[in-house]
Subunit: 90 residues, 2 copies
């Protein structure tokens, strides 16, 4: 089952915009954009493009910022910030 | 008067963390971190460091994402995403 989650990474912006549009047009009522580190600004770009240009009926439901503890290649713990943006059909 | 706004740009992360700490220790009850474009992820880093490490009593009050219309060096309109994160003393 589609959980409505899109992980935003380093692909071109429009890939994520189209993935979001596809989920909404498949009848999913809520799409969550998740991103970490430098991809955070791309997730914001996706959300803004969707709600202001592509699908103006879509609403911004929730934004959360997070910290994840990861282990780097040298075995050290590092903290990486993340964002979760929930878009919803009204 | 200090309006409690910090514009997060390309300086080292700790500059903004210390600027935020300074505002709270000067008695300002709310600090708003504003960033555009690639600096958005740095603003999230600042907010997460402040509330999870440096000043655990500080709460995340509001997050907003925005679009600003700017004009580039060739006179073309471009849209730039931004974020506003409001941190508050309880």
């Amino acid at each position: 089952m589609d959980d409505g989650v899109i992980f935003v990474g380093n692909k071109p912006l429009m890939n994520y915009v189209m993935a979001t549009m596809a989920k909404f047009s498949n009848g999913i009522g809520e799409v969550t954009l998740k991103a970490r580190g430098r991809a955070i600004s791309r997730a914001v770009d996706v959300a803004e493009l969707i709600r202001r240009r592509v699908l103006p009926e879509i609403q911004l439901k929730k934004i959360d910022i997070t910290t994840e503890e990861l282990t780097d290649e040298n075995g050290r713990d590092i903290n990486v910030s993340g964002i979760e943006i929930v878009l919803a059909k009204p």
